[in-house]
């Protein structure tokens, strides 16, 4: 399964819903969480494509992927997630850091 952030918004916003539309929190709750659960169910990796937007706030990515790590566990997320970022390849390392910095909340 593939999720394209630009299908969510061309201009992703900041961290929380309170910060405005298209936040990392909103992306997580609407797109990322469901997509991840669906992919795991189908025994496949979730592919998240970051290309095609106007750019990212680090807070957006931290919230979306960090929440995913909190919900499913950092290592499990890393095993079942593939990120595409041809326009800004350094996001791959950054997101891995955001995921590993979070602890799973049971």
């Amino acid at each position: 399964m593939k999720v394209k952030v630009c299908d969510f918004s061309k201009t992703p916003n900041a961290r929380y819903r309170d910060d405005g539309d298209y936040s990392g929190e909103e992306f997580y709750e609407i797109f990322l969480k469901n997509g991840f659960q669906q992919s795991v169910k189908n025994n496949e990796k979730l592919i998240v494509d970051l290309d095609g937007t106007e750019g990212y706030a680090t807070s957006f990515l931290d919230e979306a992927f960090g929440r995913l790590a909190e919900e499913f566990g950092p290592l499990y997320v890393l095993d079942n997630l593939q990120i595409i970022s041809n326009e800004e390849p350094d996001w791959l390392d950054e997101i891995t850091t955001y995921i590993l910095e979070r602890n799973e909340i049971k």
Binding site: P12, A14, D19, G20, E54, G55, S59, D62, E88
Partner: protein, 185 residues
Amino acid sequence: MKLNKEQLLLFAVFTAGIIFGIILIPFFNIEVDSKVNLSDILSMLLTAVIGIYLSITIGGRQSSSRFEKEFLISEVKRITEYIDAANLFKNTVNIPAEDAAKGFKELNIRIFNFESILSDADYCQGLEATELRNAFKNLRVSILHLTSRKGLITPTSTERTDIVNKYSLFRKEVFKIITEINRYS
């Protein structure tokens, strides 16, 4: 006919040589031997061949190296030109979040292009832009990790100081990499 700088210099050196020769003639009694030794001719020819070879190879290398350095520096300047033109960090009181994200993406792409060209460089081998990238990442986080309200990032005075410091460090790294490029011969 208008003479260019190099032609004028050649003419000046030539004229100075003639004047210098005329002045020195009364002081020397030069005798020229009409017999020429074969080993002297061979030695002269060899010296000339080596001289021509060295001037061609070293001269060619220097001009290629100069071209590469100028190209790399122009790529670094594209990064700073963008920052100056976009006026991204002049106002650190209210930063439009969308513009900041867009600006950092463009900046990131320009730094990637520079890194890619640098990794293929022939004469500036071993030169890396790691510090420049780290300074960029620190600057990016100092702004894009902050909370935005109604599309505006409004840093506190401490955060503003941090942004200004990170921006200065980034500019310093840009300057450093230009200096390092210039050191390569």
